[in-house]
Symmetry: C2
Subunit: 174 residues, 2 copies
């Protein structure tokens, strides 16, 4: 029997949760100090399913990117400053730390091969991991603060967003 | 109804076909001029299913990385020189050209948003694509010739491979 697992074809894609999570963190970064938005508000703002979104928000809270505030005035807010949250932090929270390229060490499978005889890691594996490192480094170099500062919207957009946020934001009790 | 697609969780992974394809191209790069290996031989050498592997080999032939030689002495060989085949060429052949991050433009979904009002691409989208570009650039910088030159195997391994290849290689008719 061949040592293979089920193959899938087609191109590799990130979960939509990544786009949702980054946008939610970016919106929360624009709230007043201590203020929160509920799951429902974040889902409505982004036009996505609340039940799917909340799973991702909980993951972001678990890894210390978001703070989940309980109670009737509760919701989510940033756990740490937007300049200390990189895009990679969010991607890693949602997708995990495992490399995209999984080496099965097939170089050692040929008939009669004494597998233990490899002195060095597989060169193909090493090159694939190096490329992922470049991808990771690029995402680690962009913070949510950077994104906030780059965003340009029209005055009409700004006013619409502002009005929506004022209706939904939950300010902390003083 | 919410505009969402089925979500999947867990980390994003490349198809095993990528590892298979790169290793096959690297082995073929070591053959004498014009010589081929059959699907069956390449599958046996790497301990993988021939029927799954052949799909990938055909894709590599379709994009001009491999040459598929018909007939009883036929099989696969490189279509072009190993220093003109990068790891990215192979990854793109197997996984396609589509970016891993798919932007659904959720920035424009909030209630009442005039979506056409965005003057610039989404900043989050742009940062995610830039990271993929770094990954791509890294893989474009490594050729199959580079991999060949990096590989170090023990004398025992070398002899085993040599013996196996001599039994399976199909030399061109003179």
């Amino acid at each position: 029997m061949w040592p293979f697992k089920a193959m899938y074809t087609g191109s590799v894609k990130f979960s939509e949760g990544i786009e949702w999570a980054i946008h939610c963190v970016a919106v929360l970064a624009g709230l007043p100090e201590g203020a929160t938005l509920s799951n429902a508000a974040l889902a409505e703002y982004h036009g996505i399913s609340e039940s799917y979104l909340v799973k991702h928000l909980k993951v972001l809270a678990r890894v210390g990117i978001l703070d989940s505030v309980p109670g009737p005035r509760g919701g989510f807010r940033l756990e740490r400053s937007a300049d200390r949250i990189t895009l990679y932090d969010i991607v890693e929270a949602i997708e995990g730390k495992e490399p995209m390229f999984q080496c099965e060490e097939i170089r050692g499978r040929f008939p009669g091969c004494p597998q233990q005889n490899f002195a060095r890691p597989c060169e193909i594996h090493a090159a694939m991991l190096k490329a992922e490192m470049e991808w990771r480094k690029s995402l680690q170099g962009v913070t949510i603060r950077d994104i906030q500062q780059q965003v340009r919207v029209s005055e009409e957009q700004r006013q619409l967003r502002e009005a929506w946020l004022q209706k939904h934001v939950r300010l902390p009790v003083r």
